[in-house]
């Protein structure tokens, strides 16, 4: 068995809000295989971006373990973090604010090489030029400043910057959600090409399910700091096993009316509860159309799902006792537990 590129075990991240502890990520575990993409999806406030930042220790985790191959990221000392940065990179959501406006594109791309390599200037310049070409820009762009570029072009620069030191893993924190739809597909294709060429593993954080499906082999669905369901993308999209996943998928507009109601629709009401005061038992129960008394009392245990993956929902042991079967029939028949 090969070691996954990234393994996260029971990750916890807390923020201090006033005098209280806000648990933004509580007990998240997942793995990403080398050269694979895990899509991390959820509403805003679900803790998906925080998870991405914690992986790079841009926010220090409050608990849990993160392994990059066999390196335990969580115990690295501050001065050892620099070496981690060479192996793990991030692309931020907003290319308008993630590039220093006072540096040229060339300087921005050269910086990772200055920090992590001892290549001479001429060698660095050559690498910058080839990096620009590999993201569809030209070497002449190196002398320009970020404000001279469009959003899509800037995101290309940000991707090139992340890939400069050939990292093993890149966290893509909503890399296309700030872009026009036409630009989005170009950037997504670019990312797929880069992954094919470099074998870099991606953690793709997004709220757009269509984008996640296009990009990911596996998908993890986050709700209020927890992963409620994860598994192979195809199974999750066609046969969700958690009501929250089903609700997210039924919220995606389907271009084919014949397919539109294949899985029953679940309309979510209300807002995400405050993570300062999460609901007892199952965190999703306040918005779940199938909530049962037991959901208030017990945290749902993880259940293996037929077709791959895991979910945490009481419907599998109680009520209709789905017992690892996807929600499909249950939703279609509209059986109330």
């Amino acid at each position: 068995m090969t070691i996954p590129a990234l393994r996260v075990e029971n990750l916890q991240v807390e923020y201090t809000v006033g005098k209280r502890q806000l648990r933004a990520v509580s007990g998240v575990s997942f793995e990403i295989g080398a050269g694979e993409t895990l899509g991390l999806v959820g509403e805003s406030g679900s803790g998906k971006s925080t998870t991405g930042l914690a992986l790079l220790r841009l926010i220090d985790p409050a608990g849990g373990r993160i392994y990059l191959l066999d390196t335990d990221v969580t115990t690295l000392k501050r001065r050892d973090l620099r070496n981690l940065r060479k192996r793990m990179q991030i692309v931020f959501q907003d290319p308008y604010s993630s590039l220093n406006p006072s540096m040229t594109i060339g300087q921005l791309l050269e910086e990772p090489l200055i920090i992590h390599t001892d290549h001479p200037t001429s060698e660095r310049r050559a690498q910058v030029a080839s990096a620009l070409q590999s993201v569809g820009l030209t070497p002449a762009h190196a002398a320009r400043y970020p404000h001279e570029f469009s959003g899509g072009q800037r995101q290309r620069v940000a991707i090139a910057r992340a890939m400069m030191v050939r990292p093993e893993l890149v966290v893509l924190d909503e890399p296309v959600s700030a872009l026009d739809v036409s630009t989005q597909s170009q950037i997504l294709n670019l990312l797929r090409q880069i992954q094919k060429d470099s074998g870099t593993a991606f953690l793709f954080v997004a709220h757009d399910l269509a984008v996640i499906r296009l990009m990911s082999r596996n998908v993890a669905v986050m709700y209020l700091g927890e992963i409620v369901e994860q598994g192979p993308a195809a199974r999750i999209y066609d046969q969700p096993a958690h009501p929250y996943t089903a609700a997210l998928i039924s919220a995606v507009p389907v271009p084919d009316p014949a397919r539109a109601h294949m899985v029953g629709e679940i309309i979510l009401r209300g807002d995400l509860p405050s993570p300062l005061d999460p609901p007892s038992g199952c965190r999703f129960r306040t918005r779940c159309p199938f909530a049962m008394p037991i959901c208030t009392e017990q945290v749902p245990p993880p259940t293996n799902i037929a077709g791959g993956g895991v979910t945490a929902c009481h419907l599998h042991q109680h009520g209709p006792r789905l017992d690892g079967q996807p929600l499909g029939d249950f939703l279609r028949l509209g059986v109330a537990p």
């Binding site: 931020f92 220093n100 992590h116």
Partner: protein, 296 residues
Amino acid sequence: MSVTTASFIDPAAAPLPPPSSFWSRFRRNPVAMTSLLILIAITLTAIFAPEIAPHNPMRSSLRAVLKSPNAMYWLGTDDLGRDVASRLIFASRLSLIASIQALSIALIIGLPLGLISGYAGGWTDIVITRINDAIMSFPALILAVVIVGLMGPSLTNAMTAIGIVYAPRIMRVVRGSTLSVREEVYIMAARATGCSDTRIIVHHVLPNIVGPLLVQSTVLLGHALLAEAGLSFLGLGAQPPQASWGAMLGQAFPYMAQSPVPTIAAGMIISVTVLCFNLLGDGLRDSVGRVRRAGE
């Protein structure tokens, strides 16, 4: 409010005017432009003083003491029979250099402290800021007088004192700008890239606070010039036979009844220069405004 501004055009798709650059905004500000031109003229005068001055500023003629302005002596002569116009021209060198000296010292002290305070935060910030506030609560000129009293009167000591007194003002502007820049995503991106704190401060924070720093520095140059004039007027700055504008003002003042022109001329040139520095500072402040991203 008009409702016609409502539009169905997607703001992201609508063409945006090209972002106006710093210089194009500054150029359209007549007051600031005039101030800049006057200051350039004064600087050129200082640089080419030997070529411009009609007389030797040090040569006294006892036959021409306290003369009124005439064709030979444009602004008359002082109590030792030296040409006032020539002396003012040469004095511009000392006054400008002294101001720059004071500003340099203020920058050397205030800039690193402001960067560290704003970037590090926490206790470092609290300690530096409190000391800063304590220094700022003293009246600047009085504090400078005390420092000069301790170090002895000379122009260099006076300007060192002014520099120390003004350092907190630089520090405060730098700290404030650093605080806001520190929260930018590109600073987190720099950390993610693996930049050290020093590298982040020098390469990522400093270039992005140049605007406010430039504004504050320009205004402080004016203040330093005024402080130099004040200290020299009191005899705590430039020492005879050196001539600075303030020293000349102090020297001409007792003879104001016999010959008012030198006093007025020295006072005028100080006022105009300080005013130009202040107006230039205001103009820069209006033009510097950070170039916001499209659509914001």
